[in-house]
Every structure is written in structure tokens, then in C-alpha cells.
Symmetry: none
Subunit: 214 residues, 4 copies
């Protein structure tokens, strides 16, 4: 792999700062985590977006959350076709190997993936319709959400961000091991959405069929 | 989505703590990030493992890193077949839409996914060979790495963790837009591996063909 | 004291979150509590076990409960021999200085101390019999309970957890100031046991000589 | 045990409230904690005082902290004499059976135990000098601290609260299993003090030999 380059020095410097402080303060715990393995309480599915820091929002201790981050925090439906499904693999590992107690899908404002999906579904982004567009094909997962919110909101992109979380939760329930764990009470699902500029956090409430502030 | 449940109260409490402190201290910056969009300098591919906190290791500020986390921090090869490829979508978005300057793959010690892959390739985990195993099919990406390290190390799992980072970097180079950005100098690739219990960080050095401490 | 280390940063962060929210919302009350001193209504004796949160179970407000937590929520018999008796000091302070109205002993399922006592009394834990075993000598308090439940139950450890609460209540009555307060009606005793996994709460009912759901 | 009385109804009511909300929201996690046992990261030694809520200050999740609460958050010196030592048993269990990574002693303002110790050592509380005073004999642990702060401060009681945390940390180091774990890096000690009315939190800093705000 001749293309690898040295780590940019500002990152090397920050690493050494972390090593000398945070790691040093916590090395007894980190060593235990290394020896005994992880036992996270929850899995969180969030976006790759650089503005979403789930560990910060939830004051995470090392070892608390199993975190999968992908474009637009999507979970595809269950499709055991022998192909590669990275998100499904993460969900399978969290639920069947780690037995997490909570599975949280966290959406956010200003999501580029959701905006692209909206443009594509509205006919304004033909390049995303192409077979070779990885982002387009990935955002196909959210098409059913677009059909449900289309024409029903003044801010369709925002509506699609909120709907996307529900689509992912619904897809999660198509995984037999997720449905079983939810039904036997060993796993609970949670749908959240955060506004990056306002710092607010909403949770989906099935009783009212709407999102409410946490 | 009738299955959604309220957020556990200890997480709600932590969120409110974050809102009143970290968010409050930074809200001018967060508002700018919300209004102007993200402009991350680097993409990091790391593992979902709850013990790996890339934001902590690199003292990440909000908005700095576009982070994709999947099982065993893998990147599959380029396959524009019209199917869903979540990791490829994340890479495509980071390189072509966000124009990140660095693409970092970060492996780690004690990786459950890598250990599973090793067991599968060594013939000790038939359940992972099944068509319906999402983890097994996902870890197929690392099979070529197993072939290269097999029988050459006293600690094959450790060797496979290190090799896995190189497999992902090689696969990255099969994406035309990655190869082009690397060749025209607008993108650099980096292969890292961290030991959770020791807090050490190694970087792959192509000149020596080995990992060196950062 | 050269061995003290800085507080792990995730705890410092959580503290600042609490300060900015819970403390801020309640500071008038906290200041009064600081100026006027505590006036708790009840003392609770519970286990150190990290899974038992008495403040949570009883929706405790700051200032409500004087809480002593030790291994297996035990109270030793009255022994004014001039030696150090931390639990007896806590009981003395609560009853004679604070005049609490209720004294609650709260046992729980899966108690490691009780399980150790059972193993020791059954002859299966010689290391706990050693003079130098603090846990063993502490759990000696529960030996009379073991004699009473031995051979009378299919689940002797569970039986010993329930019996341990009664042993502690009996021991409490050997303290002259406790017996006097109980007799003059200024103090009532209560024996509880909670199942961690089920969230149930049982209270001892002297009329039937058994535990009943609260 | 004929003296047990039913739980006061306001507490029964609060329990039912907790059961229907917090427990219900978290029962998947509580069941796992029940089945798999606790794995707390830290032990905290704090006071029984009703105004000190360590779980609240540190946003504790169920299962995170092994908490021992006694009068004045004291740890006695190592004394393996075959007598009952409840605090030593708790420390032994946390360090040798649970392998906690941190041991935190948390003092606080307005501590009645410390004030009593000060009065006793200054000759103003003869009743505490009596052999039969459990509080007096317990507070003897703090006498060495009184000798060190006497005449050196305008607020000797406050000074004694702060010194008491250091006395406990020093005593902890007399336990062979604590000293060994500290020396091999698997355990770190921390000395904290909180002001109830101000909500502040100080940590002892050995480099300067003084307490600093967290």
C-alpha cells in the first residue's frame, strides 16, 4: 500500500495531547475494557456529518455506546441475500452478539444526504438516479419516506429528515432478531432528531404520532 | 412507528447537561455550522466498537471530521452495480461533495469483527459462512487479508487487524474518484491502528512496509 | 497524598452538566439546605451494589433520605465496645441526632455479599473464613440468618437475601436508642427487598410472617 | 420480626411511579444487569448526608458506580484483626472482586460528622469521647487530620472536611490490595469535596498540595 502518507502533524500532536491527559487519567479503565471486552448499553445509528457528536451530546464514557455512522443515519430493510450489507452487519452484531438494550436512531437538521434524496425524488437531481451513484442508491432507502411526506409540508426537507428516522425504525423491525428482541422486551427502539444550530433534541412519541422535545 | 419508546432518563439528563454547558459555550459556532454547512478537513473510517472514540483521540471540534463507523472499519472494493453500498456512499460523499483533504482508516486492538473473520477463514465459525449472516458476508471483504497473513505470525488476529487497514486502503484506490484525487494531490490516505488498553497509535509507513508509532 | 489523580474528564463533564441544570434550577433550595442543615424524614440502609439506586426508586429529593450503603445492607448487633462501628455510628446519628421517623432496610436480588455468605456458611468458600477477609468477617453478621434458612428452600440464596433484612431489623432493635424510639412511637422500622431485573418491591409483613408486594 | 411496619404510602406511591416510568423505560437494561451482574467503573465513598446525591452529580446510569456511604465518608486504616469492618469490606469487594478502575472519596460542606469530630478533638464534646459513642469512636479515624489542621485555619471545620478526604486516601493506601492496584496502574485514587449550597466541586491536586475546582 504505497499510497499511505504520514499522519498530518496537527493530528499527531492532538493524539499525543490525548495520550498524556485523557488516556493517562483513564488508563486503568481502558485496560479493563481491553481485557474484558466491551459491554455497551446501547447502539446509536447516526450520520457521518461532522457536526453531529453523539459522544458529546450524551456525555459518553468509553465503552458505553456501540456507534454506527453512515450517510443520513439510515437502516435498510432486512435482505439476507448473501450480499454485503454493512449497516445490517452492525445491527446484527449489536443485537445478537452484544445484546444491547437500546437501539437509537439519531437524525439531524441540515442533512446533506436527506436533501439529496429530496432533490432526487422530486426530479431535480438526475445524477443521483444513475446506477453508479453510491449516494443515490443508498438514499433509495428513504424513497418510501418521500412518498409519505410529499406535498404535506412547507419544509419538505425537514419533514423528510424526521420521516427518515421512522423509516429506519420500521426497517429495523423487519430484521427477525430485532423484532424478537423488541417483542420479548430485551430491546427498546428510540427515534431522535437534533437541530445542530439550536442544540434541541426531539424524540418520536408514538402516542401522539409526533416528535416532542426531550 | 408504534414501537418507539421514550429516551432513558439518564440520557435525557445528560443531554440537558450538554445543552446547558458545551452547547451554550459554543452556540455561535454551532449556528454558523448550521447556516453555512459542514466543511470537514478529513474523513475517518473507524469501527463501531464502543471503546474507540475518534473524536476524543483527535480532540475533535464540531465540524472537523466526517466520520463513518462500521464493523471492523472496512471499505469494500468499488462495485457500481446499482445495489446499496453504505460505505461506498459515505466515501463518495466525502471525496466528491465535501472534498476532504485526508481519508483516514483507523483499526484497533481486540476487534470482534476481525476475530470473527479470522475464525471464519480458519474454518472455525461455520455460522458466519452462512448466506444469511450479515456479519459474515461483511467480513468477506477481509478474506484477501487473511490469505496474506495466514501462517506468518504468532498472533494472526493482531496481524489481520493491521492487514485489514491496508486492504481498506487498497480498496479505496479502486474507486476512480479516490484514485484521481490521490493522484492530483488533493487527497491523502492514512492507515492507523490503535491499541485500546495501551493507548498507542501506529501509522502505516510505505517506505518500510510496516507500522510505526505516531 | 501524592497518589490522588485528576477526575476522569467524562465525570468532570457530567458534573458541569449537573451544575448548569439540576443545581441551577434548585439552588435556592440547596442554599437553604446548606444554611439550615439537613432534616431527613427517613434513614435507608441499602447495598453498595451499583444496580441499586434508592434515590431513583423513591424519587428522592435532595435532603429527604439519610442513606447508609454497605455490603449486603447489613446492620450488626449493638456492641458498645469502644471499637469502630461505622454502621452503628450511622444509625446512632440518624436516630439520636437527626430523629428520623423511618428506618428502612432495603435488600435486593443478586447480592454478591449474600451469595458469598451462603458459600462460606455452606463450607464452599474457605477464603472467606480467614481472619483477614474483611468481606467474610462482615458477612458473619448474616450467619444466624443462614442457620434459619438452611435446607428449607429451593433457592437458599434468595431466602438468605430476604432473611438478611430481618436479621438487620432484629439487630436494630438491640440498640437501646432504636428500641426506645420504636416503643415511644417516634420511629418505625421497615424491611424491603427489590428484584433488580423485575423492578418489583416487597415489604415484610409481620402479621403473615412473609413478604408482600408494595 | 414483629416490629416491621408497612411502607409509608407516599413512598409506596413514588415507587409505583418509578416502576411505571423509569423502570419501564429501562427494563431491558435492568434485566441484563440482573442476569450478567454488575461491572461498575468506579467506587465512590461518600457521606450518608441526605443532601449529597452522587448519582445525580455524576449523571449516573444504573450499574456505573459502586457506592459506599458512611458518616463523614471515612475510610479507616487497614486492620485485619478478625473484627467487623464494614468500610474495609466494601473497599475489599470493590477492588479485589469488582476490579474497579477508580476509587473516589467525596467530602462535602456542612458535614455533621466532621463538625462533631472537631468539637470532640477541641475538647468541647465530652459525650463523643465516651466508649459507648459510636459516632465518637467512628470519628476517631479523623483525629490525625485534626492534629494537622489545628490552629492553622480561620475555618477549622472546613479545613477538617478537606483534610478528612486526604486521611481516607492515605488510609486506603495502607490496604495491601489497594496499594498494589495503585502501583500496577489498575486503580487510581481521587479526592473530591463539594459545597452543597454553591454546587461547586473541588479535586485534590498533589502537585500543588491543594484543592482546585474541577
Amino acid at each position: 500500500m504505497k499510497h499511505a502518507r504520514p499522519l498530518p502533524s496537527y493530528l499527531a500532536q492532538r493524539y499525543h495531547g490525548w495520550k498524556a491527559t485523557t488516556f493517562e487519567e483513564n488508563h486503568a479503565w481502558y485496560r479493563r475494557l481491553a481485557n474484558e471486552g466491551q459491554r455497551p448499553r446501547a447502539m446509536i445509528v447516526s450520520c457521518c456529518d461532522s457536526r453531529v457528536h453523539v459522544t458529546s451530546i450524551f456525555g459518553a464514557d468509553q465503552g458505553e455506546f456501540f456507534i454506527h455512522r453512515n450517510v443520513a443515519n439510515l437502516v435498510p430493510p432486512y435482505e439476507p441475500d448473501g450480499d454485503r450489507h454493512g449497516t445490517s452487519a452492525a445491527v446484527e452484531y449489536a443485537v445478537t452478539a452484544l445484546n444491547v438494550a437500546h437501539l437509537i436512531v439519531l437524525g439531524h437538521s441540515g442533512c446533506g444526504g436527506v436533501a439529496g434524496c429530496h432533490a432526487m425524488c422530486a426530479g431535480n437531481a438526475p445524477e443521483l438516479e444513475e446506477r453508479s451513484s453510491f449516494v443515490g442508491r443508498w438514499m433509495d432507502i428513504l424513497r418510501p419516506g418521500y412518498e409519505r411526506i410529499k406535498g404535506k409540508s412547507e419544509d419538505e426537507i425537514r419533514a423528510l429528515e424526521l420521516e427518515g428516522v421512522l423509516v429506519s425504525l420500521e426497517n429495523l423491525m423487519t430484521f427477525p432478531f430485532v423484532a424478537k428482541a423488541v417483542e420479548d422486551g430485551s430491546l427498546t427502539l428510540h427515534g431522535l432528531w437534533t437541530d445542530i444550530g439550536e442544540g434541541s433534541l426531539l424524540a418520536y412519541d408514538p402516542a401522539s404520532g409526533s416528535y416532542k422535545p426531550v
